[in-house]
Amino acid sequence: MKRSAWACVVVLAAIAIAVLGWQFRPAGEPSSSGYAGLADSSGDFAVAGPHIELRFPQDHGPHPDYRIEWWYLTANLRGEDGRPFGVQWTLFRQALAPPTALATDDQPWSSRQLWMAHAAVSTPSDHYFAERFARGGIKQAGVRITPFAAWLDNWSLMAPPATRGLEHLEVTAQGDDFGYRLQLTAEGPLVRHGDGGFSQKSADGQGSMYYSQPFYRVSGEVRIAGESIAVSGRAWLDREWSSQLLGPGQSGWDWFSLHLDSGAKLMAFRLRGGGEANAGDYVSGSWISAQGQVTPLGDDQGDEELRLTPLAHSRVAGRRLPTAWRVEVPGHGLDFEVRARHPKQWMGTSFAYWEGMVAVEGSHAGVGYLEMTGY
C-alpha cells in the first residue's frame, strides 16, 4: 500500500505539476499558483462571491464552471474499547479548462472534468490512505443531487433511495489494506460559512463558496489489515467550490474542524503568506453553536478575534509541520490546545498534505481534524 502510493506519486507527478503546479516558494516571492495551483487566477471560470446565494439541494451537486470543488468528510470515531480512530473520505473535482474550452463535460473520454478521491483511516498509532482518479463524462465518478450520491469507482457517499438532502448518508471506501463503511445521521442544520456561504480567503477578496454539515452522528465499521472494528462517533462534511481559492503569494493553509464536548463546533483556518510582502497570514473561521448558529471569526471587519498559534513542530515526510496549536477566541472565552493524536497522519498522495485527527484540551475539550497543506 505504501509502495503503490509512492509509485502513484511518481507516475502522477505529471498531474501534480500539470494541473496544479505543485511547488513550494519561499515567502516574499510572489507565487501565482500556491499549493496545488489553487492560486491560479480564475480566468474564464465562474467566480465565487458574496452575491451568490446557496440553494439546496441543488448546491449539493457539482458546479462544473468552477475550477475546483470538493465533498470532504472527516470523522472522529472510537472503537468499543475506547481507542480513537479517524476516517477521511474526499471527492475532488477539478476542471482542466474553463467552460469555453473545446472539450465538453459529458463527452465520453474527452471531458474537461477530472475527479480524484482520497480515503484514509487513522488508528491510534498508524495511518492508511489511498487515492483514485477518474475523468468526467464516463460516469466512473460523479455527484447526483437527488437522492444524493457522490462516487468514484466503488468509493461512495450516498443517501438512501427516495431521500432529499444530506440528512442520512452511507460512506464507504476500500484501500489495499483498509476499508470502512459508516452510517451518518445529521443532528443539526447545514452551516453557511463567511458571508452567507462566501468564505473570503485573502485580503484581496477572493474566496470560495463554503458550507458544512458538522452535526453527523456516526456508527459503522472500520477494517484494518483484515480486522473489523465497530466504531461510533462524529463526522463533519465540508462542501466547497471556487475558481481561485488562494490569493497571490499564499502558499498553503492550516485548517481546523473541531467538535467540542459542549456540542458547539469550531471551524478555523489560517492561509499563510499573501498580503503585504507575503508576510500577512489570513485567519478566518466560524463559531457554530450547538444549535447551528454561526458567528464569523477572523481578520475581516466586524468579525470576532481568532488567534491560531503553532506550539510545537514535528518532522513528517521530510517536512516540518506544526502538530500542536493554541487556539484562542477571546469573545467566546475559548483558549485551548489542539494536538495531533500522532504526527504520522500524512497523506502521501499525488498532492501530499497532512490530514489527521486531533484532540482538544484547555478551556474546552473535544476532538476534531486538522489539515495542513503547502509545507
Binding site: 507516475v11 494541473v19 503546479g21 465520453p108 474527452s110 482518479f133 477518474a134 475523468r135 469507482d153
Partner: protein
C-alpha cells in the same frame, strides 16, 4: 619507467615499425584483416543491438506485468463493461489498440490509454513530466507519444494530435489518449481490452476472462534464434578475418627476427622488446577497430531494413529501421577486435620473448617445426570433430529452442575441426604427389616449394575452406528450403481467388458464388483463437501449459484432401481425413515439435466456449508461421467455436474458357453485386508472389553475409601472396638462373595455388554438405520449429568449386603479374643475394 628506458622503448618501437615502411603491403594486410573482421562482426552486432532495443521497448510496453481482461464471449468490451468492473472495485484500466495507416501508407499500432487509471508504474502511462502534460494529454488537441525513429517517418500533422517524442516506445507504435484513439480507429464506444496490474488478484465476474502477462509471447524469445543465427555468421567472419591477421603477424615477425636479434644484441632488454611489440599491436588494433566499427555501422545501416522486414514477416515483431546503439556496443566492438588481435598476436609475442639471440637463420628448421605443428593441428582437429560428433548424437532428434546454442557450438566445432585438418591433409597430398613426380624435376620442385609455402598458406586456405563450406552449406539449405517452400505453397494455395467479404455479406456472397458456373469448388476458411492448456501424449506423458494457439478451419473438399500436405498421420492419409471429419484435429509441425505431440495424442484447449479435448489425426507442415496452429473442419469451427466468417477460396472451373477470363468475369460480378473489390479479393498469383518475396527477403541477409565472408577469404589469400611475393622472388630467382623462363615460373606459381585451392575446395564439399544437414536437421528445427528435407544440388557444388579456383586465381594474378614484370637484372641481383 625511467626516461632512459622510455628512450630505449621509443627507439625500439621506431626500429620495429620501420619494417612496415619497407613492407607497406604487410601493414595493409594487417589493417585490412582487422578491418574486415571487425566490420562484419560489428555490423552484425549493430543489427542485433538495434533489434534487441526494439524488443526491449516493446516488451516493456506490452508485457510489463499487465494482465489483460476480455469478454468471455469474444465481443468487444464496452464502456459499461469497464464501469461494471470498476464499480466492483477492480482496478482495471481501459485500452484501445488497433492498426492505423499513415498518409505515407505505413501501418502503425495505435494504442489509446487512460493515464488516470493505468496501473502505477506501467511504461504506457509514463508521461514526460513537463508542465501541463496531463492537461495537454486529456484536452484538445491532445498529444500522441511516439518513438523518435517513428516520428521521423510520420508527417500526418492533419490527422494526428501534436507529437511528443518518447524514446522508450517501440518503433511503429503510437500512444495517445483513449478518446483520441477511439476516434482515429473508428472504435467509438469500444474498448479492446482492460488491463490490470499482474500482482493484483481480482475476482472477475462470470462474463470476463483474464490473460496473464506471462502467457503473451514476447518477441525477444521468438526472435532470439534469428539473432543467434546472425551472431554465428558474424563470428565466422571475425574468425576468417583474424586468420588474415595471424598470417600477417607471423610474416612480420619472421622477417624481423634478424632485426629483433640485433636489437637484443645491442642491449635492448627482452621485456622492452615485448612491450614495443605489444604497443605496435595496440596501435594497429586501434586503427583497425576504428575503421572496422565505422564500416560495421555503415554495413548495418544498409542491412537493417532487410532484417527488419524479415523479422516483421517471420515473427510479426516490429524492429526500427534506424540504428539505436547503446554505449556498450562501441566498447564491445573495440574489445572484440583488440582481443582477437592479441589472441592472433599472442604466438608472435611468445616467440619473440623466447628469441635465441645467438641462433642464426635456420633455413631447414622449418621442416621439423611444420611437421610438429601439423601433428598438433591434427590432434586438435580430431578432438574438435569428436566433440562435434558427440553433440550431433546428443542433439539429433530432440532439438528445442534451448538447444540452439549447443547446435551452434556443434557447427563451430565441426567447422574448426575440419579447418585444422586441412593443412595436414594438404601436406599429405603433397607428399603423395612428390613421390609420383620423381621424373619431372620442375613439377617436383613445385610440389616441394608448395610444401615450403604451406605454413604461410595454411591460414588463408583454412579461411577459404570455412567460407566455401558455409557458402555451400547455407546455399543448399536455402535452396532446399526454397524448393520445399514453393512446393508447399502450391499445395496450400489451391484456390485461384480468395474473397474476404465483410461479415454481414458473408452468407450472401457464399451462396452467390456456389451458384456461379465459373466456380468449380468453394473452399471457405475461418480462424479463431484458443489456449492450449495441456496434452496427453503417449511419448512424452501429460503436460500442462498455457500457450495461445490459432484455430484454423478448412473445407475438406476432394481437391483439398488430395493436395493438403501432411507430414505424419495416425493411420494413413485417407484415414486422417476421415478422422478429421469425425471430430479429430490436424496440428502444425511447430506445435507438434514444441509440445512433443504425435498423431494419436490428445490436446486440451480452453476457448471462449469452454474447454475441449481434441485427438490429433495428423501433422502438417506450416512454414513461415511462428505460432502453433490446430486445423478443424470449417463447419465445426463456425458452429462449435463461434469463429467469425473468414475467407472464401474459389477454385475456378478448369474446362471453361481461360483462367483470366473466368477470373475477370467473377471479379466483375462480385464488384457489381456486392461492391467487393480491392483488398477483399486476393489473387492466388499475387499471394504466391508476396510469399516468395518474404522468403527471399528472409534469406537476403544470410546470403549477403555469405558473399562477404567469401570475399574476405579471397582477400586473405591475396594479402598473403602479396606479402610473401618478395621472399618468393628470392626463391624463384635461382630457377630463373637455371633457365626456366618467367612465363613458366608464372605458370608454376598459378598451378601451385590452384592445386592448393582445389584441395581445399574438395574438402569444402563434404564439410558444406554436413553443415547443410546440420542446418536443416538441427538448427532450423530449434530455431523455427520445422524440419526440411536435405537437398543436394550438384550444380551448386560445381559452382562452389569453380568459385574457389576463381578466388585463388584472382588472388594469385597480381603477384604473378608482378613476377612477369620483374626485370631480369633484379632477379639476377636477388639470385646473387640469396
Amino acid at each position: 619507467m625511467t626516461p632512459a628506458r622510455m628512450a630505449v622503448l621509443r627507439t625500439s618501437l621506431a626500429t620495429l615499425l620501420s619494417h612496415y615502411r619497407r613492407h607497406p603491403g604487410q601493414l595493409a594486410m594487417l589493417i585490412v584483416g582487422l578491418w574486415v573482421a571487425s566490420a562484419l562482426w560489428s555490423g552484425v552486432q549493430a543489427i542485433n543491438a538495434s533489434a534487441r532495443d526494439s524488443y526491449a521497448r516493446a516488451e516493456a510496453l506490452f508485457s510489463s506485468d499487465l494482465d489483460s481482461i476480455t469478454r468471455r464471449d469474444g465481443r468487444p468490451l464496452s464502456l459499461d463493461d469497464y464501469l461494471t468492473l470498476r464499480r466492483a472495485g477492480l482496478r482495471v484500466s481501459p485500452l484501445v489498440e488497433g492498426e492505423w495507416t499513415s498518409a505515407a501508407g505505413d501501418t502503425l499500432t495505435l494504442i489509446g490509454i487512460d493515464p488516470l487509471t493505468l496501473p502505477d508504474d506501467a511504461p504506457l502511462g509514463r508521461t514526460e513530466s513537463s508542465a501541463g502534460s496531463l492537461r495537454d494529454w486529456l484536452l484538445p488537441p491532445h498529444r500522441v507519444r511516439v518513438a523518435p525513429d517513428t516520428a521521423a517517418q510520420l508527417n500526418d500533422a492533419t490527422r494526428l494530435p501534436p507529437l511528443e517524442i518518447d524514446p522508450a516506445l517501440p518503433p511503429g507504435t503510437l500512444v495517445t489518449d483513449i478518446g483520441v484513439a477511439q476516434r482515429l480507429l473508428g472504435f467509438e464506444g469500444q474498448l479492446t481490452r482492460l488491463v490490470i496490474a499482474a500482482e493484483r488478484s481480482a475476482e472477475l465476474p462470470a462474463g470476463f476472462v483474464r490473460t496473464s502477462a506471462a502467457v503473451i509471447a514476447s518477441p525477444g524469445q521468438l526472435t532470439e534464434s534469428f539473432h543467434l543465427n546472425l551472431t554465428a555468421m558474424g563470428l565466422l567472419a571475425l574468425v576468417v578475418g583474424l586468420f588474415i591477421v595471424h598470417a600477417a603477424l607471423g610474416l612480420a615477425l619472421e622477417q624481423r627476427l634478424g632485426l629483433l636479434r640485433t636489437l637484443r644484441a645491442l642491449g635492448v632488454p627482452a621485456r622492452t622488446l615485448i612491450a614495443a611489440l605489444a604497443l605496435e599491436l595496440l596501435v594497429i588494433g586501434l586503427v583497425g577497430a576504428a575503421l572496422g566499427i565505422a564500416s560495421g555501422v555503415l554495413l548495418a545501416q544498409a542491412l537493417l531494413p532487410d532484417v527488419a522486414a524479415s523479422l516483421a514477416e517471420l515473427y510479426d515483431s516490429n524492429v526500427g529501421t534506424t540504428l539505436a546503439l547503446p554505449w556498450h556496443y562501441w566498447l564491445g566492438g573495440l574489445v572484440i577486435t583488440l582481443g582477437g588481435l592479441f589472441s592472433a598476436g599472442a604466438s608472435m609475442l611468445w616467440r619473440a620473448a623466447r628469441l635465441n639471440v645467438l641462433a642464426l637463420g635456420q633455413a631447414q628448421a622449418w621442416r621439423g617445426r611444420l611437421r610438429r605443428q601439423l601433428g598438433i593441428q591434427g590432434w586438435l582437429g580430431g578432438v574438435l570433430l569428436l566433440v562435434a560428433a558427440l553433440l550431433w548424437w546428443r542433439l539429433s532428434g530432440r532439438a528445442g529452442q534451448q538447444e540452439l546454442a549447443l547446435s551452434f557450438a556443434m557447427v563451430a566445432a565441426l567447422l574448426l575441426g575440419t579447418a585444422l585438418w586441412l593443412p595436414p591433409l594438404l601436406a599429405g597430398a603433397l607428399r603423395l604427389a612428390a613421390r609420383r613426380l620423381r621424373n619431372r624435376p620442375l613439377a617436383q620442385w613445385a610440389v616441394a616449394d608448395l610444401q615450403l609455402q604451406l605454413p604461410r598458406l595454411q591460414l588463408p586456405m583454412m579461411a577459404l575452406l570455412l567460407a566455401l563450406a558455409t557458402n555451400l552449406g547455407v546455399g543448399s539449405m536455402v535452396g532446399g528450403f526454397r524448393l520445399t517452400f514453393l512446393d508447399w505453397l502450391d499445395q496450400r494455395l489451391l484456390a485461384d481467388l480468395y474473397v474476404r467479404p465483410p461479415a454481414e455479406q458473408f452468407d450472401a456472397v457464399r451462396d452467390w458464388l456456389i451458384e456461379r458456373p465459373e466456380v468449380a469448388t468453394l473452399l471457405p476458411a475461418r480462424s479463431s483463437d484458443a489456449t492450449l492448456i495441456g496434452s496427453d501424449s503417449r511419448n512424452a506423458g501429460g503436460t500442462d501449459t498455457a500457450t495461445p494457439v490459432k484455430l484454423f478451419g478448412i473445407a475438406p473438399e476432394p481437391i483439398l484432401r488430395r493436395h493438403w500436405p501432411l507430414l505424419d498421420t495416425h493411420a494413413g492419409r485417407e484415414a486422417a481425413w476421415r478422422a478429421l471429419a469425425g471430430g479429430e484435429a490436424f496440428i502444425n509441425e511447430q506445435l507438434a515439435r514444441r509440445h512433443s505431440l504425435a498423431p494419436g495424442d490428445t490436446l486440451r484447449l480452453r476457448t471462449a466456449q469452454g474447454t475441449r479435448r481434441l485427438s490429433i489425426a495428423a501433422i502438417y507442415p506450416d512454414y513461415g508461421n511462428p505460432s502453433g496452429e490446430i486445423t478443424l473442419p470449417v463447419t465445426r469451427l463456425a458452429s462449435e467455436f463461434s469463429a467469425p466468417p473468414g475467407s472464401l477460396g474459389v477454385v475456378l472451373a478448369k474446362d471453361r474458357a481461360s483462367r483470366d477470363a473466368l477470373m475477370a468475369r467473377l471479379r466483375e460480378g462480385l464488384a457489381a453485386r456486392f461492391g467487393l473489390a480491392g483488398p477483399t479479393l486476393i489473387d492466388q498469383r499475387s499471394l504466391k508472389r508476396s510469399a516468395t518475396e518474404v522468403f527471399e527477403r528472409t534469406f537476403a541477409i544470410t546470403q549477403a553475409l555469405n558473399a562477404l565472408t567469401l570475399g574476405v577469404a579471397g582477400l586473405a589469400l591475396l594479402t598473403t601472396l602479396l606479402a610473401q611475393a618478395e621472399t618468393r622472388r628470392a626463391q624463384l630467382a635461382p630457377l630463373w638462373a637455371l633457365g626456366v623462363t618467367r612465363a613458366r615460373l608464372v605458370g608454376v606459381q598459378l598451378a601451385q595455388l590452384l592445386a592448393a585451392a582445389t584441395g581445399t575446395a574438395l574438402l569444402a564439399v563434404p564439410l558444406g554438405l554436413a553443415l547443410s544437414y546440420a542446418l536443416v536437421a538441427v538448427i532450423n528445427v530449434a530455431a523455427f520449429g520445422w524440419r526440411l528435407p536435405l537437398h543436394v544440388f550438384p550444380g551448386q557444388i560445381a559452382v562452389t568449386l569453380m568459385l574457389a579456383l576463381m578466388v585463388a586465381a584472382l588472388a594469385a594474378l597480381l603477384p604473378a603479374w608482378r613476377l612477369w614484370r620483374v626485370p631480369p637484372r633484379q632477379l639476377l641481383q636477388e639470385f646473387a643475394a640469396s
